[in-house]
């Protein structure tokens, strides 16, 4: 009864119930509770999960933790700009040139993808579900701080198990524009500007030199676009289509998606016209 429930003992009322529970596939718990995944039976923290990954010849597969990508986001007076590339790599192989690295959590919250694509997409979808439930229960939209905290707490439970994500959560709530960086270590930081991924070093250079709080909408969008373009130009692991989103008070809008090749020639023309 209550005492048993308190201790987690289940009392079976029939043999059928007992058999059904024993046959339940232990690895599929996330179908009923998405916040729960099967944890490998490796003692946490003692062993690096990467050591167990080998390919068919027995060679160790190198887990690329550098997050081969470039994503950036920054706050300014007119809201939040998010810009991303679209190349997916596994080692030196380009898996796809057209990955949607901005995940639309809901009409006023955006998340970016860096690191493991499956990890990011899965956990951001679970976050979308939690945000919607919050909205229904409390009859008001969830704040960016709370949404990013939900994600950080979900991911922290798997710290040390090999999740790989460096994500930015951005939106506009009662306190104004909000931007948070969340990663698989459980880091969660608010900030005015972030860039994540192997190409972030190049993007930061362009972003920091052109940034000011009172940029106009068009200037801010162009800054984001240029920063990603320059990263795709120099970083081998970034490329493809440059997508720019703008989050305003009433939600996000997709501003542009242009191939970095076209941007290259456009900027080259501008330079020659200038000189």
């Amino acid at each position: 009864m209550a005492l048993e429930a308190l201790h987690g003992i289940t009392r079976y009322h029939s043999k059928n119930e007992m058999l059904r529970d024993e046959m339940m596939i232990p690895d599929m718990e996330n179908l009923s509770n998405q916040c729960q995944l099967a944890i490998p039976s490796i003692p946490k923290g003692e062993v690096n999960v990467g050591e167990y990954l080998v390919d068919e010849t027995g060679r160790k597969i190198k887990l690329n933790y550098a997050h081969g990508t470039t994503t950036l986001g920054f706050k300014f007076d007119g809201g939040v700009i998010m810009a991303v590339d679209s190349r997916a790599t596994s080692g030196q192989y380009i898996g796809s040139g057209n990955v949607k690295k901005i995940i639309e959590i809901n009409p006023y919250l955006l998340g970016t993808m860096a690191g493991g694509a499956a990890d990011c997409t899965y956990w951001e979808r679970v976050l979308a579900k939690q945000c919607r439930i919050y909205e229904l229960r409390n009859r008001e939209r969830i704040s960016v701080a709370a949404a990013s905290k939900l994600l950080a707490n979900m991911v922290y439970q798997y710290k040390g198990y090999g999740l790989s994500m460096g994500v930015m959560i951005a939106g506009w709530d009662k306190k104004g524009p909000g931007l948070y960086y969340v990663d698989n270590d459980g880091n969660r930081m608010p900030g005015n500007a972030f860039s994540v991924g192997s190409g972030s070093i190049y993007a930061y250079g362009v972003l920091d030199s052109g940034y000011s709080k009172d940029l106009s909408d068009a200037e801010a969008q162009e800054l984001g676009r240029r920063a990603i373009y320059h990263a795709t130009h120099r970083d081998a692991y970034s490329g493809g289509i440059v997508r720019v989103y703008h989050i305003k008070e009433d939600g996000w809008i997709k501003i542009s998606e242009e191939d970095c090749k076209d941007l290259h020639y456009k900027y080259a023309d501008e330079k020659s016209a200038f000189s």
Partner: protein
């Protein structure tokens, strides 16, 4: 049952802090009332437990400063009110409030305190020693009205009552 109330208050306190930790915002009145009500409801639908023997009046201010008053009962329902009462003589006090509560009667702090004390004096033996008044203002900690002030107000009310009674007699 005051022991039940103590347990409820403890759980509510923990939930308030837990909410602040996960959502980075203080609770809204509606949220904490819903939490207490859900807790009460759980005890009406599980084996081996009895419902909490308390009706709670939950009052306070949301983060943006709007005041709210909620009433919960042992069944787990909660409702929002401008004025209400609980307890053995709740009915009498409620009727008094229904007759005398109006937006202008509570527009001043003094007026509101007088209304509340008069409502209580309907059912309680008169005397400042039998009554406790707490005052809440936005972004300020709760303040208990001290005994000297309370006695002064009670005496004023008694005088007003006598004057009204005399007026009626004269008519």
């Amino acid at each position: 049952l005051t022991a039940d109330a103590r347990i409820l208050v403890n759980r509510a306190r923990v939930e308030c802090q837990s909410h602040k930790l996960t959502v980075e915002d203080p609770v809204t009145l509606e949220y904490i009332t819903r939490y207490i009500a859900t807790l009460k409801q759980k005890y009406t639908q599980s084996n081996g437990r009895r419902p909490f023997g308390t009706s709670c009046l939950i009052a306070g201010f949301d983060m943006d400063g709007t005041p709210h008053l909620y009433l919960t009962d042992p069944s787990g329902t909660y409702t929002e009110w401008q004025a209400n009462a609980t307890g053995r003589s709740a009915k009498t006090v409620r009727e008094f409030l229904e007759k005398h509560y109006s937006d202008e009667s509570v527009s001043s702090e003094e007026g509101a305190i007088k209304l509340v004390v008069r409502a209580l004096l309907e059912v309680v033996q008169s005397g400042a020693k039998n009554v406790e008044v707490a005052i809440m203002k936005p972004n300020e900690p709760m303040k208990m009205l001290d005994v000297t002030n309370l006695e002064k107000i009670v005496n004023e009310i008694e005088k007003e009552k006598e004057e009204e009674a005399e007026k009626k007699k004269q008519k």
